[in-house]
Amino acid sequence: MKTNHMNTEELVEMYYREAAPGQSERARRHLDECAECAESFRNLESDLKALGALEAPERDAGYGERMWQRVAVSLPAAGWRPEARPRRRFAGLWMGLSYAAGCAVLAAAAFYGGTVWEHQQHLNRLATREAQQKPALPQQPKVVVVVLGDHLDRSERLLVELKHADAENADLVKPLREEARALLAANHEFRDDAEKSGDEGLALALDKLDRLLTEITDEPGGLNAASLERVQKEMSSEGLLFEVRVLRSKNPHRETAVRVVANGGTA
């Protein structure tokens, strides 16, 4: 072993105590006998000890509370819940066997069940058609008062949700479209105000937001994987989420700019 010096990888392994017990013992004996390797190890040890000085600044006990305030603003709107547990693709042999047994039972019941199912489907189709033909009730006109700061808060939440949305989870994606539609009216108003008052930064960001909200709202058939990916790329390339966050925290008119909006907006 004297002629076979330890390589750097082995020395690093030794330093971090990652070597297997037997290997570690052999390496330790080699270091005792080989001055060259021992020096290499000391140098490595010295360098790595010197590099270990990146200490994080201490955060006080109130940090968690402040962080929660930041997180809470960006959480999905009230009434939402964390997404449902996805189905596992590989859940073990017993699941396969259960599936096979289930298939056998289903096959035995297929003839009878198929008839019942066919009948039920027919009833369902009739019910759906009837519901579609029913004239929609006229919506009550709604007027809401919107504060710019609230509008930006809610827009930020939507953008965060869009950023992490999974198009395959329809239950989560559908409400995003509704939320975009709800924000659109107020966004128009605030954008027009910003243009008139010469607040170029706000006008520009709200204009981008407007395009995005419109795109989401007008997407035929709702958001699917392709359209969601496109929206996420646009958001990312335009840095929209960042701009909205900055405006939410810095814009001087966020608490004073108020608009009355009909049929939508942030209440």
Binding site: V12, E18, L51, G52, M67, V71, A72, L75
Partner: protein, 193 residues
């Protein structure tokens, strides 16, 4: 990250049952631990705060996938590793350029004798530490993450592999590459005794 207490489990159940505010308890309990990790990985406070926030947001969205027998601290820690990795990847090019400029030995003129861990070297260790932080910026996002987890967070290869979703051997090789790069950067500051 100790064992997840009963209170974490109870809180998670409350959140999953629709009590959004209960999530605040988890945020308050684990924020400081995540901040330390995020700071070590990103190297600045603002980015670390963003990483912590993003981690808890992702955690909330994925909470239903959390296995009840698992440790929430470990789980959210792994999410934070990925968030920090994303943050590092997004700024990697800019920082790599800065490091090249800032650690130019001719520009800084700092030289450290390569004479083993003797007194001179120990005296200068604080300076090396600062330059070491700069050297960290020269690593790829993956290397920096692996190095921080191994060297500063004292995680073993299996834990690093799990956090990064890579094979243990890949994790080990990544740590090794990172160590090599860090030492090369430090080597330019030395003169032979």
């Amino acid at each position: 990250m100790g064992k997840m207490g009963q209170s974490d489990r109870t809180t998670i159940q409350a959140v999953l049952a629709g009590d959004r505010e209960a999530y605040g308890t988890l945020v308050m309990r684990h924020s400081r631990m995540l901040f330390r990790l995020a700071y070590r990985m990103t190297g600045n406070e603002a980015d670390a705060d963003d990483v912590v926030q993003e981690s808890f947001l992702r955690g909330y969205q994925k909470l239903a996938t959390f296995e009840s027998r698992a440790n929430f601290g470990t789980w959210i820690y792994r999410i934070a590793v990925h968030c920090a990795l994303d943050k590092l990847q997004s700024r990697r090019r800019d920082e790599a350029r800065q490091v090249t400029e800032q650690t130019d030995p001719e520009e800084d003129g700092v030289q450290v004798a390569d004479s083993g861990p003797g007194p001179e070297r120990l005296v200068l260790s604080e300076e090396i530490g600062t330059l070491g932080e700069q050297a960290l910026l020269g690593l790829t996002a993956m290397e920096r993450t692996a190095f921080v987890l191994r060297h500063m967070e004292d995680r073993n290869t299996d834990e690093i592999a799990a956090a990064l979703d890579v094979a243990p051997n890949t994790a080990k090789q990544t740590v090794y590459r990172a160590v090599q790069k860090m030492r090369k950067r430090l080597a330019v500051l030395r003169v032979t005794a």
